[in-house]
């Protein structure tokens, strides 16, 4: 297993290389750069000279291949450069913002799993019963609504109308329990829910579908013929098999959830990677754009890797080949 993971990790290197090249080219294809505005700023005397000095300072006067090699060389030494906009090391910025996004994404993942799997299993068990039929309807509804619409609904209901939960930020600025665990949790709940809801509906459908496929399998009949109890058959035989495609899908979706967080973060003014990458792009903050793009790519690849590992862990037919 360990060698398998190492082999897979090494396999990611070429993919990452290609992604950095594409990201680099696309970034430079965007019109303008971080310093161009200075030229037209009437308050700055001799803007053009300053502009050229800044370009030279940041190596932007060199050809693209040279810039790229320079950048990648620095990255390999762990140096992501300094953000033009924030005037801080990029690695330090990511260190501040990434944990917030991870917290949001992981909470959403957990919500998805602990809510959708039991619902899907129960639906499959009582297929075409009243609960199954009504929840299938709800699931399709949830699935077809984009996350940011949920975000607005949730905000409207729970923050503005009922006043139960805060509408923005990660903690309260003041108040008795500002910064406490409960305070964190209250701030986390709505954005995580908004991020989770569409996938959650999708996962109940998947759980239900895979379970129904397995229920009719020959080996389930064998398990019944052995006189096993219905709970054991459900979990040890049916669910244990249905979970294989489910965890695989889950891994693939990790990257997507990360991307989906960008929009949700904006709505809840959640200081995460969404805010960072959006600001970077708007300001043509090249070092930050490259670093955040790379990070998103790494997240997708890690998700795929997790999918493969979970698949191998849950299916001996894969693991032993």
């Amino acid at each position: 297993m360990a060698t398998y993971i190492i082999r897979r990790l090494l396999g990611l290197i070429p993919t990452l290389f290609v992604i950095t090249v594409i990201g680099f080219l696309m970034m430079h294809a965007m019109p303008g750069n971080a310093f161009e505005a200075l030229v037209f700023n009437p308050k700055i005397k001799n803007g053009a000279a300053l502009y050229h000095r800044l370009l030279a300072q940041n190596g932007l006067d060199q050809s693209l291949p040279v810039q790229y090699i320079h950048w990648i060389g620095n990255i390999l030494q762990g140096n992501f450069g300094i953000s033009y906009n924030y005037q801080q090391p990029v690695s330090q910025l990511i260190g501040t913002y990434l944990p917030n996004t991870l917290l949001l994404a992981v909470t959403a993942e957990i919500l998805i799993l602990i809510i959708s799997i039991p619902i899907g299993l129960y639906q499959a068990r009582k297929v075409n019963g009243p609960f199954d039929v009504s929840f299938s309807f709800i699931a399709v509804l949830l699935y077809s609504i984009p996350g940011f619409v949920f975000a607005l609904f949730l905000l409207f209901i729970f923050s503005f109308s009922l006043g139960w939960l805060p509408s923005q930020g990660t903690i309260s600025a003041s108040g008795a329990n500002a910064g406490s665990f409960l305070d964190h949790l209250q701030h986390l709940l709505l954005p995580a829910l908004a991020l989770a809801l569409p996938s959650l509906a999708g996962y109940t459908r998947l759980t239900r579908g895979y379970t129904l496929q397995i229920i009719v399998a020959d080996f389930v009949r064998t398990a019944k013929a052995k006189g096993l109890g219905s709970k054991r058959i459900m979990f040890r035989h049916i669910f244990r098999n249905a979970i294989i495609p489910l965890v695989t899908q889950f891994g693939f979706d990790i990257g997507g959830l990360f991307g989906g967080a960008i929009l949700i973060e904006q709505i809840f003014t959640w200081p995460g990677m969404g805010e960072l990458s959006l600001n970077a792009t708007l300001n043509r903050d090249y070092p930050l754009i490259l670093a955040t793009t790379l990070l998103f790519a790494v997240m997708v690849l890690i998700g795929n890797l997790i999918a493969d590992i979970l698949l191998a862990a849950s299916d001996p037919r894969i693991r032993l080949n």
């Binding site: 080996f219 064998t222 013929a225 244990r240 299916d315 001996p316």
Partner: protein, 323 residues
Amino acid sequence: MSEPLLKVKNLKTYFTSRHSQVKAVDGVDFVVGKGRVLGIVGESGSGKSMTSLSIMGLVPGPQGKIVEGEILLEDMDLVKLSDKQMENVRGNLVSMIFQEPMTALNPVLTIGEQISEMLIKHRSMRKSEAMAKAIEMLRSVGFARAEQIVKEYPHQLSGGMRQRAMIAMAMSCEPKLLIADEPTTALDVTIQAQVLELMKDLRDRTGTSVVLITHDLGVIAEMADDMIVMYGGQVVESGTADDVFEVTLHPYTKALLASIPVIDEERDRLYAIPGTVPSAANFPVGCRFADRCSLVETRCRETMPELQEVRTGHWVRCHLVTK
């Protein structure tokens, strides 16, 4: 005949939906003696599998249901047992093995786990005890490296090995009755012979009664003490295998025997019974074989013949065969 273990009386298993009623098993009677092998033959769709699933209480619901009859295991009527009580019968008093060894085992559990979970359930064994017993069972069905096999997954075994593992599993709680539904149909001929040999050997060693379902009269001749021939959800002929083969009475059984290819006989082409089995959703009023029978008479189409004992222990359902 020995003391009876299982008596099936007037068993009817129907599939009822809004539009139709499929009479998969329609009034079946037979007896399995202690330590005997009963063979069940019949064409596809004649109700062999549904008969055996009825005994196991595994008729696919909610459409499928036993609508009438008794299944007496010693003195206990299995039809009347609750779901929970049936759990203690399945795998414990009566076990079953199926046709498809490739798909009948759970792909994500080891062979050892799949055998031992039965022992844990029915014999209240601890895990380690159950695993030791699983190894012993695998050895008894001819696995030399049983210690490794318990740790392996079904996909690591060949078809024949899987079916032997299935048999080891089915026999692990020392059931009184083993039902095998076409256990060798999916296997190579040489492996078939080994698996049949193994079943016979287990029967001799343990005294377990066996119900063996097959399309293949050769397998019946080889294995069975008694046999029943099924057609259209009914028994059309039953008796000891020797009697049925030597003094074949029912025209359907005769036709089945005639359709076995014989190697040393020069025949232009294989004999096949003309026509097809009538649909179980729409049986004729008279004899169900009438349309395909070369000896058919008017009364055959008008009234259904009864299953009659025409010689001692030899029963036939045909108007033309009498004492």
